[in-house]
Amino acid sequence: MAKLAVVATFLLAAVVAAATIPSSANGGRLLEESAVDVAALAPTGLDGVFAGGLSEEVAAPAPAELDREGDLANKVPINFVLLISRQGKVRLTKWYSPYTQKERTKVIRELSGLILTRGPKLCNFVEWRGYKVVYRRYASLYFCMCIDAEDNELEVLEIIHHFVEILDRYFGSVCELDLIFNFHKAYYILDEILIAGELQESSKKNVARLIAAQPDDDNEKLRPIDFE
């Protein structure tokens, strides 16, 4: 918690080097090759990357504050998107259903406890407060999306992968550090993929084109990510 260290985890590396080297360490690339298909990235192919952990499911009773009234009537396909690092640091959050700040913190804390402790080779779904959280680990980052219990979990896995591939294409073998220093870019990309918790664009090429077309005063090729 105290140390903001980066864990260098290389995809497909047999050993997870949990090194606590301050910022000089590089982030592991999220995607080994941008064109890998999903099956190859399924957990079975990534044995080495997953650190052993306890699989446990905490069936916490939903406290009143998280039972949001009225929202049952208008279900949102994707309630929120979370990116959490293996250390439990939040890298991106996007809420499509109303959660107060307090609830958000609580949700993040609960889910990191639930997801980060799950062992390898387990399925990518966690049941949580009557919802389902679909998560997938890419190197040191967990991409989580919360959906309704009846929704199509397998498709959400595809959406996560879709997002990661677009990130990868944009940053050029994306790693956690890219998403830390350019978190706003990650948000812009997500906004091109999802609106109101619904999918907006199924073509990676289109998203890339749209992102590139938007007038941006900083061209990262020349002047890396800056607000001046």
Binding site: S23, C123, F181, H184
Partner: protein, 967 residues
């Protein structure tokens, strides 16, 4: 390597940093935060940055760095620090002219605010302007923000703009507007009709982004409005089928290709919409059959994307009015999923089968073995799903093999899962048990393997069943004894075993009631005592188990007279125990063993069979109560059930409340639930002397445990009770001297009944004093005292004596409400000891107005048959409703004893115990915690009552004194 590049890059940007620029750049801040070694350092950095940003905000200047500050704030926000001070900056940025500023502003808006914040309303105007902007990207930003966080008001205000933008020529704007209207319809379903025409026209487009957005909009419209659903059923089913056919037949399109499948996202979304349109509509379903069959057969399921489509297709087939052939196809797909090696696929298969079970149980049953294997999976999510499914699959024919499998697995299951698994097994066993032997066997197995996870009501139920199955009691106690030897640390196994050994000890030793399949075991009397002693010593922390052990030992001392001396020693060890409950029990029990040998056998007779039916009712009602915990308890209709003596009789549990005074007195209540509660209570209280059954007289109500136990010699008609348990009538005589002895001690106010009644006796008898002081002068003069006062309710009693009838007192109770909300359905109840007769008059009303603004009065009449010897004592209870919430208060009323003192009676118990000790620990066995002095109850019956109470100990927890609304 990335590292090198990054370091170089960082270095370059460090050099580039101007020393004159105010504040740090975003990148530097992130780096500074990441360099922090401790949380304190991080906080310091964040605090410094926040201070700078605040300063910049308050100066109002810094046009150039505003968006940078906003970006910093967003990062700080992600770390979990408060950033509310930046909210207004978002609005300023959005109002700015430049695209980069707007972009950051909208991002900040979506990140830092949510739809419930008032600030959001201020942005409506800017949004409106941006929606009308000529730049499509700015329009895009506004649509995105609106789609993600708009509130209902904003949705109403901006819906015309969004509608217009859906007709835009820009592809990008079109799809964003369509999704934005999804949110608008979600927030304001009334607007659905404005969008349905547009949505169906968008389905004719070619662009996949627009198609996906339009399909999603249609889905949302169907959910929001029935009209829209009908409209879309008529108008777009063709279009949907065409889209699905095109996309599934399309040749390789690199842009949309995922693992060899063209645009699985569009596939899935169209299938979802078809699901909704086809649900309950045979025509629509008919129309879709072909294309669904095509998708289900043509999609190859070796990639996740394909499986996602198949999964959605199965869902749709199950949801619509599909042909039976199509359904078979769907179930087969699920079967294939189930045998997949991928956990994700198996998970969704289980999930889907759970829903399919209502459609086609037989088809799901075919996969039973596979599902059972999934229960043993390493993955908690899969286990949970599979267990839920198995639970639904159990029926009368397969219950035995399934239970066996589950119980076998119980041993290996990991601890987290055990609880869930145990609960499900118990539930299955209880639901489907056809014979008691099987039930008892399975339950003992579960207790042995997961005794610590078994819920209390489950093992209580087992005890009830054993006590009713007379031919299996011997078998049960022997099995339990064997299990106890093998599994020493299973909490509820120990409890059940100890209870059974105590009750049926002689069956254990003598191999009574051997079943054919059973192997005889040799257990000596001292072995049985050993087992209980071991449990007693082992469970030093669990009071219930220890208390049950003590009861069992006491019972064994009577079953096996030879071990009596040893048991006495074991029991005596606990006399010093720090836990009051155990201390009290051991003192009382040693006394029974030591001094009351003559009555011991009859005291410690076997428990009569517990009433199964009433237990089931009780259990069901508690289960319901826990389910509907926040629902107000059923109302007691005032005056609905009136007893002849004027005590309103609410349902049994409040009556039980009336009786037991101390909050930790579960001793009485178990008996009241296992036996017929009302009889029992009436008898105990002897209210008004109406009830003819007096203590010691056999009652016709044979289910009444207490009466049975109280009546000497009338051994419960229980099977196989050994002769030793039958007490010869001759003993009756032997008891009497002691009884009278106790009685006299009672009247001289020295006995333990002092726990509650002694203070009353010591206090001046107010009423008696009254007669002498006021000497009957004023006929209508009520002498008034405050009988009860709390923060919410005050009760005054006015007393009046009839001339010439000193034992009769007329009391006028006045109830005053001290709170600001009025009490409705107010009911006053009173219970008195046997020597007093009570007659309640109707109350003046059942609504007590708020803030002391008027009051309710109720008169009643008491006759003290032992006037001059005993003071008036009364237990009162008030139940009422405040804003539809049930409340109840109860108190003991002893004249001359202030309300707060009566209320804190529990604290007197230790003192009473001391007194007991000083008095040589005799003659007090009876007065455990009944507290209420019941004059007519003889000491003998007191003694017996305590023993009866102790005997019912094992089921006491289940009684779960229902203190509904008790404050």
């Amino acid at each position: 390597m990335d590292t090198v590049e990054k370091i170089v890059e960082d270095f370059a940007s460090d050099i580039a940093m101007s020393p004159f620029s105010s504040g740090t750049r975003l990148r530097d801040m992130i780096r500074a935060i990441r360099a922090c070694k401790t949380a304190a350092e991080e906080r310091a950095v964040v605090r410094r940055e926040c201070a700078e940003i605040r300063a910049a905000i308050s100066e109002g200047g810094g046009e150039g760095i505003r968006h940078r500050n906003m970006a910093k704030l967003m990062f700080i926000h992600m770390l979990g620090y408060p950033t509310h001070f930046g909210q207004m900056e978002c609005l300023k940025l959005i109002a700015a002219a430049g695209y980069p500023e707007k972009r950051v502003g909208y991002l900040g808006l979506m990140l830092l605010l949510d739809e419930r914040q008032e600030v959001l309303m201020l942005v409506t105007n800017s949004l409106k302007q941006d929606l009308n902007h000529s730049n499509q990207f700015i329009v895009g930003l506004a649509l995105c923000a609106l789609g993600n966080i708009c509130s209902a008001e904003m949705a109403r205000d901006l819906s015309p703009e969004v509608e217009r933008l859906m007709r835009s020529r820009e592809v990008n704007t079109k799809k964003k507007a369509a999704l934005c209207s999804v949110r608008i319809v979600r927030k304001v379903p009334d607007l659905a009709e404005n969008f349905m025409g547009l949505a169906s026209s968008l389905l004719k487009e070619k662009h996949h982004g627009i198609l996906i957005s339009a399909v999603q909009l249609c889905t949302e419209l169907c959910k929001a409005s029935k009209d829209a659903l009908e409209y879309l059923r008529k108008n777009c089913i063709d279009g949907l089928v065409r889209i699905l056919r095109d996309v599934s037949n399309s040749s390789y399109a690199p842009e949309y290709d995922v693992a060899g499948i063209s645009d699985p996202f569009l596939h899935i979304r169209v299938l979802k919409l078809m699901h909704i349109l086809g649900q309950g509509d045979a025509d629509c379903s008919e129309y879709m059959n072909d294309i669904l069959a095509q998708v289900a057969t043509k999609t190859e399921s070796n990639k996740n994307a394909a499986n996602a489509i198949l999964y959605e297709c199965v869902q749709t087939i199950m949801g619509i009015e599909a042909t039976s052939g199509l359904r078979v196809l769907a179930i087969n797909i699920l079967g294939r999923f189930l045998s997949n090696r991928d956990n994700n696929i198996r998970y969704v298969a289980l999930n889907m089968l759970m829903r399919a079970i209502t459609v086609d149980t037989q088809a799901v049953q075919r996969h039973r073995t596979t599902i059972l294997e999934c229960v043993k999976d390493a993955d908690a999510s899969i286990r949970k799903r599979a267990l839920g499914l198995v639970f639904l699959l159990v029926n009368d024919t397969n219950v035995k093999p399934l239970t066996k499998e589950l119980i076998d697995y119980l041993d290996l299951a990991d601890p987290d899962f055990k609880e869930d698994l145990t609960a499900k097994i118990c539930s299955i066993v209880e639901r489907f048990s056809q014979e008691k032997l099987w039930y008892i066997d399975q339950m003992i197995k579960v207790l042995s393997l997961a005794g610590n996870h078994v819920k209390d009501d489950v093992w209580h139920a087992l005890v009830v069943v054993i006590s009713n199955a007379s031919e299996l009691q011997g078998y049960s106690v022997r099995s339990l004894y064997r299990s106890l030897q093998a599994f020493v640390d299973q909490g509820s196994l120990i409890r059940v075993a100890v209870w059974c050994i105590g009750e049926y000890g002689e069956m254990l030793v003598n191999n009574v009631g051997m079943l054919q399949l059973e192997e005889p075991i040799t257990v000596t009397e001292s072995d049985a005592v050993d087992a209980v002693q071991l449990a007693l010593n082992r469970y030093s922390t669990d009071v219930t188990t220890r208390a049950m052990c003590l009861v069992a030992l006491l019972k064994l001392s009577s079953r096996f007279p030879s071990t009596s001396e040893r048991i006495k020693q074991i029991v005596s060890k606990n006399k010093e125990n720090i836990v009051l409950e155990l201390q009290q029990r051991s003192i009382e029990f040693s006394s029974i063993i030591q001094r009351h040998q003559s009555i011991r056998p009859s005291l410690l007779e076997r428990m009569p069979a517990l009433d199964e039916a009433s237990y089931l009712v009780k259990r069901a009602s508690t289960a319901q109560a826990t389910l509907a915990a926040d629902k107000p308890a059923p109302t007691v209709s005032p005056g609905g059930l009136k007893l002849p003596n004027g005590v309103a009789k609410p349902p049994t549990s409040p009556l039980a409340d009336l009786l037991d005074l101390s909050s930790d007195a579960p001793v009485i209540t178990p008996a009241s639930t296992t036996a017929a509660p009302n009889d029992f209570l009436q008898d105990l209280l002897g209210i008004g002397g109406i009830n003819s059954s007096t203590a010691g007289a056999p009652s016709s109500a044979s289910t009444d445990i207490l009466i049975d136990l109280l009546s000497i010699g009338s051994s419960p008609s229980q099977n196989g009770a050994p002769a030793a348990d039958l007490s010869p009538p001759a003993q009756l005589g032997a008891v009497v001297p002691e009884a009278t002895d106790l009685l006299s001690s009672l009247s001289s106010s020295t006995s333990v009944s002092g726990t509650k009644s002694a203070p009353a006796v010591q206090d001046m008898d107010l009423l008696d004093g009254l007669t002498s002081n006021t000497s009957v002068s004023g006929h209508d003069n009520y002498l008034s005292i405050t009988a009860f006062q709390s923060a919410t309710l005050k009760i005054n009693f006015g007393f009046k004596k009839q001339p010439g009838k000193p034992q009769e007192t007329t009391i006028l109770a006045t109830f005053t409400n001290l709170t600001s909300s009025s009490y409705t359905d107010f009911v006053f109840q009173a219970a008195v000891p046997k020597f007093i007769q009570l007659r309640l008059d109707p109350a003046s009303g059942n609504i007590v107005p708020a803030s002391g603004d008027g009051s309710v009065t109720q008169g009643f009449n008491v006759t003290n048959n032992q006037h001059g010897q005993k003071p008036l004592a009364m237990r009162i209870r008030m139940s009422y409703k405040v804003n539809d919430w049930n409340k109840a208060k109860s108190a003991i009323f002893l004249p001359g004893y202030s309300a707060d003192r009566t209320r804190s009676l529990n604290t007197h118990i230790p003192k009473a115990i001391d007194r007991v000790r000083r008095r040589g620990e005799d003659r007090h066995i009876g007065e455990r915690r009944q507290g209420e002095e019941r004059g007519a109850a003889t000491a003998e019956s007191e003694e017996r009552r305590a023993a009866a109470a102790a005997a019912t100990e094992s089921v006491e927890r289940r009684a779960g004194r229902t203190m509904t609304g008790e404050e």
